[in-house]
Amino acid sequence: MNRKDGHLKVTGAALYATDHQREGQAYACAAHSEIASGELLAVDATATLALPGVLTVLHALDAPKLFRCPESLNVGERRPPFEDNRIYYAGQILALVVAESFEVARHGAQLLELKYKEDEQVSLDFERDLREGKIEQTDASSRGQAAEAFDRGHARIDATYETPVGIHCAMELHGAVAWWEEERLVVEDSTQWVVGQSKALANTFGLPESDVEVRSRFVGGGFGGKLFLWSPSILAAEASRVVGRPVQFSLDRRGQFTSAGHRPRTRQRLRLAADEDGHLVSLRHEAVNQTSQVDQYEESCPDVSASLYQCPNVSISQGVVRSHVGTPTPMRGPGETPGLWALESALDELAVELKIDPLELRLRNVAQRDEAKDLPWSINLHERCLREAAARFGWSQRNPEVGSMREGSEVIGWGIASTSWAAMRSSATVTVDLLQSGKARISCATQDIGTGTYTVFAQMVKELTGLPFDSIEVRIGNSRLPTGPISGGSMVTATVVPAIAEATEKAIDALLDLAVAEDGPFAGSDKKSLRMVGGKLCSRSGGASRSIGEVLESKRLSFVSGKGEASPGEEQERYSFRSFGAHCAEVRWDAGLGRLRVSRVTSVIDSGRIINLDTASNQVYGAIVMGVGMALLEESVYDKRTGRPVTDNLADYLVPVMTDCPEIDLSLLNVPDPHIGKLGARGIGEVGLTGVAPAIGNAVYHATGKRIRTLPIRMEDLMG
């Protein structure tokens, strides 16, 4: 089976947001703040406006008012662009030049003269802010007596871990083409949530929701960065309103590093204590993340620590520090990904302290129930994942002595870590139409962010109707379709698949009603005696079959419809849902060359039933490679003096390239979740990433004896 979007994408026929060209389209380019804190005093646009082809200049001192979105609606940055003349971070968009061509718009933006008043008080130094205690506590919970139990522990770990600012680095930039049809706004956008994007734009411009249409047929990578509304879509729409023409606006690559969200920097203190047998007796996880001046974004690192392992005495807390940086946003596996870096590294340290194999230590602490929610697991195959990953990897051959495994000039290290992701469901409405042409059409306002949503949806309808895969049209990526979920939190499959099943069954049932009705091809038959096989209706006892078209023709109808609705039910109160897994990693360190590489990763993951092994595996392979980047390469560096990003392009912010990809051995258990919904699918987007970095960090320790607690792990950390 080919991907629905495969041919379109490899031939370039798939049009992404800013590929769209409208009649009379104009182009916009932004000017960003060079300072991190202060006020915009003046904008001199004389030279810009003198350029032939420049249509207008919008800026914070002279812009129509845009509205904020209510707190109940998630957006990227609560403050709309140009709200006032305050500057909260370097890279903040202060002006927009609209012109006949992109080149003229960019030249015009470069010619703008912005005059600032820079504040003397600037918060750019996370470490200093932490030292000075500028932490706002946002969340805390506990069970048992963690502090007392820690003191009584046989083995104890008290260590602090850090993760840097991470950038989503989607290939496709944040950008949009927007135009107005009378009072109605239409946006060709790149978003992980067409429904949310249209609601947010409606609020921003003060329009009824029905007057905003957001389209996003293809998304060139999101990773969380396109979950919520960011300024490019707003500014394209605003510029279009001002010039009365369609406007294309996209951030440039540098803008992605300041103005479209990032995974925030975190510092996490872990205190673990275990008894002589390696059972956890106390776990404390205190995390702080950096957030912006304008939004309080929490990276909920410690949540996973409260339930992944069994432990009677647990205390977790979360805080934020406000800095002059842009607003953070979820990035693949938000919370869990940095959280497990800390927890799974600390567990490795505890295993060393206890002289217990790190695999064995995890097996001894597998959680029998979710102690944080005080609920039984829907299903928990954590232990099986750990055992199978270790077996496939060859863990039993591991010599626990540090630096003991060598090959030529390389020293080899093996590490293990658990992975986990809370399995969530949301709501969806789906319609399935069976058409006179003999085809089927499925409609839902969700979107395919490159992960195979088109394909999985068509596959579901194919399985239930027997229609050929190519006869099934999937209509998604438009906010006007029946309301579907956000492509985030690994929810789409788990949420929509049950609704598709229901809609398809109802459509077939409606077709059966027509078939047995007067004048129908099976008039007088009992509905129950008929079934759909190979896209046609036939009697269970054999005989002639009738196509969808023939049945509809009998009533002169063009199509028949079924509607399915699914939302989380009472099962959420009875069970806790989580996906579990285990990663084993092999690293090779050549001290003479300063070369650290990940050569091998084995992952075994349980995320319920796998609907499509190809698209599911594809997501996990990508996640593992992303984990390699997180462990060894990725860091958005800011200049401490100015707050400007220094590594603001894809040559200096390093993501893995093909030659960095380890050999990956992946096993998806494919055991249906008994309680999550009709088909037992839980989603796979994040669980492949969480836990990869600590598996690599633990392998680095095994190779070198160096415990690196701050990511990314770099050659200079291991030298000398």
Partner: protein, 332 residues
């Protein structure tokens, strides 16, 4: 990007005279540096003279056994040239370690010789930078300087010369052939790139209106073998954090014609002359390699972020010398 006049030359003379007509002109070849810097508004020439149609894209064998590499020869073509692969292995390895296949298919030899700094403060177009805006200061000093130079720096600039190819050319004692309206001259490679000193904006010993037409490589020393080693965080598509090109021959068991050049650690392609002298005439041994490596990095001035480059480069030199020896011995 500031609009500029674009002209296309078909001969060297035409290129030189087009270029002298405007004070702020520059030549366009592969464009892999220039186009980037134009878009970032860091370079703002009034005129761009396209020299891609000028006939200088062959590798010619010279009578003395050396080669003349045409200025427009693509990096990938040069890397896979038979003679280069055989006699100048470090050059081939250096080229193939640089950039990506797509960039190597575009980038030319002369363009690579003229490659500009990758310092983020040079490219951001607003930080103080003496290279971009003389007299404005150096933001890399006291800033994020993990990739910056430790050799050949000044208090005005610590930007690393980013080229891999140039490191090998330095080791092979290449000459840069430039032609202008006043005639042709060959500039020894170690004189071509200038140290930043108090004028980091002046990067080359080339005069306005002069065009690089080729690079001359002298014949390789009989029996010599060479190697290029590069260290970086990711396995491909990253500038060197440190690199070493070494070459030597063995005469009666002793090192002859030793050459060591370094990349990623210096403000220009860096010849380690003292380290070469230390090797010359001695029997190869790990101790000797260590001694040479230490000499090569003597006098390094480090920043808080880049002190690791000193042990890193030493390690690379030692490893490169060991590999070169294996290759020399494998020849016999």
């Amino acid at each position: 990007m500031k609009p500029f006049h674009y002209e296309r030359a078909s001969t060297v003379e035409e290129a030189c005279s087009m270029s002298t007509e405007s004070e702020e002109s520059c030549f366009l070849a592969g464009g892999t540096t220039l186009i980037d810097l134009l878009k970032l508004n860091v370079m703002r020439p009034a005129k761009v003279v396209d020299v891609r149609n000028v006939d200088m894209d062959t590798v010619d064998l010279l009578e003395d056994g050396g080669i003349l590499i045409g200025a427009n020869v693509r990096n990938s073509d040069l890397a896979w040239h038979q003679k280069v692969r055989r006699d100048y292995q470090a050059l081939s390895e250096a080229l193939l370690s640089g950039a990506s296949p797509q960039l190597r298919n575009m980038a030319t030899v002369a363009g690579n010789v003229m490659q500009r700094a990758r310092c983020p403060y040079f490219r951001d177009n607003y930080s103080p930078c003496n290279k971009r805006s003389p007299g404005s200061g150096c933001a890399a000093l006291g800033g994020y300087a993990r990739s910056h130079a430790v050799l050949g720096t000044s208090e005005h600039c610590i930007a690393t010369h980013p080229s891999d190819m140039c490191v090998a050319l330095a080791a092979f004692e290449a000459k840069v052939r430039v032609e202008g309206l006043a005639g042709t001259r060959d500039i020894p490679f170690s004189d071509f790139h200038l140290l930043p000193g108090d004028r980091p904006d002046r990067e080359h010993a080339i005069d306005p209106g002069e065009l690089i037409t080729g690079v001359v490589l002298p014949p390789n020393v009989e029996g010599a073998s060479s190697v290029y080693l590069k260290s970086r965080d990711r396995a491909s598509y990253e500038f060197a954090l440190a690199s070493a090109a070494v070459s030597f021959a063995l005469v009666e068991g002793r090192i002859a014609a030793a050459r060591i050049a370094l990349g990623g650690v210096a403000t220009k392609p860096w010849r380690a002359f003292e380290a070469e002298n230390c090797l010359e005439g001695n029997e190869p041994s790990s101790e000797l390699y260590e001694e040479a490596a230490a000499l090569a990095m003597e006098g390094a001035i480090t920043q808080p972020d880049n002190a690791y480059k000193v042990p890193l480069a030493r390690g690379l030199i030692v490893r490169a010398l060991a590999i070169a020896r294996e290759r020399v011995e494998a020849q016999v």
